[in-house]
């Protein structure tokens, strides 16, 4: 057990998927909260000050990219991973432009998510291989 467990805030509205992600990350990180939409993400992040945020792209009210951009711009959190079903290069560019340094495809999350969060926490960038 590492001495330091980064505090993590999760944002996704798909329950079944969320359940598995929580199970995957529980051993490695301290999960401080789970939110279901973009607006809630911004609000909770402000209150909870997580070390890292993992957010879905497509969510009610605000997309993960717009919420992420806001968190980066307001310096609430700089370590953000976008966890999404979309593998379009344009979306990756949009995410990187918004200051989101982690881009993980949901169907590669089992392998990619933990390394991505760690890289982003270290100030690096991580993008899942887009090619199928």
């Amino acid at each position: 057990m590492p001495a330091f467990r980064p505090r993590l805030l999760l944002a996704d509205d798909h329950e079944e998927f969320l359940e598995e992600v929580i199970r995957l990350l529980a051993g490695e990180f301290e999960l401080v909260g789970v939110v279901r939409d973009g607006a809630e993400l911004i609000e909770c992040a402000g209150k909870l000050n997580p070390d890292a945020v993992v957010t879905d792209f497509k969510m009610p009210k605000l997309t993960g990219i717009l919420a992420g951009r806001k968190l980066v711009e307001t310096r609430v959190c700089a370590a953000i991973v976008l966890l999404t079903m979309y593998r379009d290069p344009q979306l990756v560019r949009d995410a990187l432009d918004a200051g989101i340094r982690g881009y993980v495809l949901k169907d590669r999350a089992g392998e990619d998510l933990i390394p991505a969060i760690r890289r982003v926490l270290d100030g690096d960038t991580f993008v899942s291989t887009l090619a199928s």
């Binding site: 998927f17 598995e20 992600v21 079903m85 379009d88 979306l91 169907d107 089992g110 199928s132």
Partner: protein
């Protein structure tokens, strides 16, 4: 001056320009003037003292003692109590000329002159012209004359003539008769009653003029007029004769029924008053062109405003009637009610619109469900396997390998779902826009089909409407599919550009091509659906190709706000 009778006679004889002979009662020549000798080409002594009958070229002529010498007529008058005869000959050339001229006039005018002597009840008709071409009649009975006329007209001719005599006036009657060679002819008979000094009618003078030509023309005209009437009155399509100013002069019953106005109401209106205001300007301009001669006819689909306020769609064909100088006298407009057709067209259009829209909505819904629902469940499964794998110690290799295989299976299922979803509805279109969507499709297509597709797109397409983007994307998809299926080409190009107010997508290949002008029997549902999609957005789609020359498909969609479909016809 010697004024004795013999001197006088001599003066007359020598002064006369025409031949003169003085004869004794028993026709011996007593004297002949110079003109007479010149005419007979005889010396004086070969004439004077000789009997008339001894003169060369002499012959009896006429009833009152006249004669001819060398075809020249001499008339005889008694002088000096009957003892002395004087034979004079006038130069008849002028008279002959006059007669010839008269005959010519009668012939050309098809005219004859007649006189009806009431005392003897006989008719003299001096010319073969005028009365159906029969020979001239002298002192013919009224029965003989009437025989010339058609049995049905005899009574009328006689009645008119007798009425004129009774009223001492004149008459004019048109009647038929048969020509000697058999054809039916028409004459106009005109007569004027002449009376003696006591006012008693003595004769009727008149002319007959052949009017067959005019009658036939009249008949033909009446027939064609009757035919036109019949068409005009009974036609199923509305017909109006419109003055150059645009006001109807005549309207048929069908038009009355179409517009709900009576003909007399329509004749007080300008056609713009029963035309839908949006169609007035165009129709007026076309009508001006027609009247001014810039066009011979025009054809237009326009909306009429019925009296009851309802709209009627009409197909109008207008042509002009011009006078000899080319000036338009009337416009003839023919209107066919196409309201039902227009309604069906509109319904078809909206039906196919609905069909495409519904299909797209349904595809999009299923795509979303697959992508966001099933896709995430599969992703969750994949994570579950990954979590499980993390808990299996590294040395339990068999279990770990099985889990890796399981992960690969899941990844492949995930990929399959993504692909189906993408084909159903490209989410990237809404996420990133038309150009990234096309780029990603071209790339995928190249990989899947072994056809190298290049995309050439200007960058600024972010603001085109979603339905235009979807249409362009679908057309590109379908067109590339055709390239892969039919062209045999290994390369294709997709180009997206602005052209005026439109976006133009071009898909071209250098494959085997086909005859683009051939009947569209080979045009599959794909092409039909591409055209339909373009039409729904007021766009157009064209294909140019010929065998061996490759093929180019071009779709152009206007970006301006589309007009209501079907109203611009």
């Amino acid at each position: 001056m010697d004024l004795s009778p013999s001197a006088l006679l001599e003066a007359i004889l020598e002064g006369a320009r025409d031949p003169l002979l003085v004869l004794s009662r028993d026709r011996v020549v007593l004297e002949a003037n110079r003109a007479a000798l010149r005419w007979m080409e005889l010396r004086r002594d070969a004439v004077v003292g000789h009997s008339l009958s001894e003169l060369p070229g002499w012959k009896e002529a006429g009833s009152s003692g006249g004669f001819e010498i060398r075809h020249r007529e001499f008339s005889v008058q008694q002088l000096d109590g009957g003892e002395l005869l004087i034979a004079e000959s006038r130069d008849n050339t002028a008279v002959e000329e006059e007669r010839r001229y008269e005959r010519l006039v009668f012939e050309l005018a098809n005219m004859g002159v007649w006189t009806w002597d009431l005392a003897t009840d006989t008719v003299t008709n001096r010319s073969e012209h005028g009365l159906f071409g029969w020979p001239a009649m002298v002192d013919a009975s009224r029965h003989q004359v009437l025989q010339r006329f058609h049995p049905d007209d005899r009574g009328r001719v006689l009645a008119e003539a007798e009425a004129a005599v009774a009223s001492r006036s004149g008459f004019r009657v048109e009647a038929r008769g048969y020509a000697p060679e058999g054809g039916l002819k028409w004459v106009a008979v005109t007569g004027a009653v002449r009376c003696d000094e006591t006012g008693y009618p003595v004769r009727v003078d008149g002319v007959t003029i052949d009017i067959t030509e005019r009658k036939l023309t009249e008949l033909r005209l009446r027939e064609s007029e009757a035919r036109f009437r019949a068409i005009f009155e009974n036609a199923g399509i509305g017909i109006a004769l419109v003055g150059p100013g645009g006001i109807p002069v005549a309207c048929n019953p069908a038009l009355e029924q179409l517009l709900g106005y009576s003909a007399s109401e329509l004749q007080k209106m300008h056609f713009s008053e029963f035309t839908h205001h949006e169609d007035v300007k165009r129709d007026l301009a076309l009508y001006q062109d027609l009247i001014s001669g810039r066009r011979r006819r025009y054809e237009v689909e326009k909306r009429y405003l019925r009296k009851d306020g309802e709209l009627m769609w009409g197909r109008l064909v207008v042509s002009a009637v011009r006078d000899a100088s080319g000036q338009a006298v009337f416009g003839i407009g023919m209107v066919e009610d196409i309201t039902a057709r227009k309604r069906v067209e509109r319904e078809l259009l909206s039906l196919s619109d609905k069909l495409i829209t519904t299909q797209e909505q349904e595809r999009s819904r299923i795509a979303r469900e697959l992508h966001d629902g099933l896709g995430q469940q599969i992703a969750a499964l994949s994570i579950a396997v990954a979590s499980m794998k993390r808990q299996v110690p590294e040395h339990v290799t068999v279990a770990r390998e099985q889990m890796t295989r399981l992960q690969q299976r899941i990844a492949s299922i995930s990929e399959g779902v993504r692909r189906i979803s993408h084909e159903l509805h490209p989410a990237v279109l809404e996420l990133a826009g038309i150009v990234p969507a096309l780029r990603s499709h071209c790339k995928q297509f190249s990989t899947d089909n072994g056809v190298a597709v290049t995309l050439d797109a200007e960058s600024n397409f972010e603001n085109i409407p979603a339905e235009v983007a979807l249409c362009l994307y679908r057309v590109a998809q379908e067109a590339l599919q055709n390239v892969a299926k039919h062209s045999g080409a290994k390369e294709a190009s997709v180009r997206l550009q602005h052209s005026g107010e439109s976006v133009v997508l071009t898909v071209a290949d250098h494959g085997r091509g086909f005859d683009a002008d051939a009947p569209a029997s080979h045009a599959g549902l794909g092409l039909v659906s591409m055209k339909e999609r373009a039409r729904l957005l007021n766009g157009s789609l064209k294909i140019s190709s010929s065998p061996g020359e490759g093929a180019t498909l071009e779709v152009s969609i206007p970006l301006t706000a589309p007009e209501a479909v079907g109203q611009s016809a």
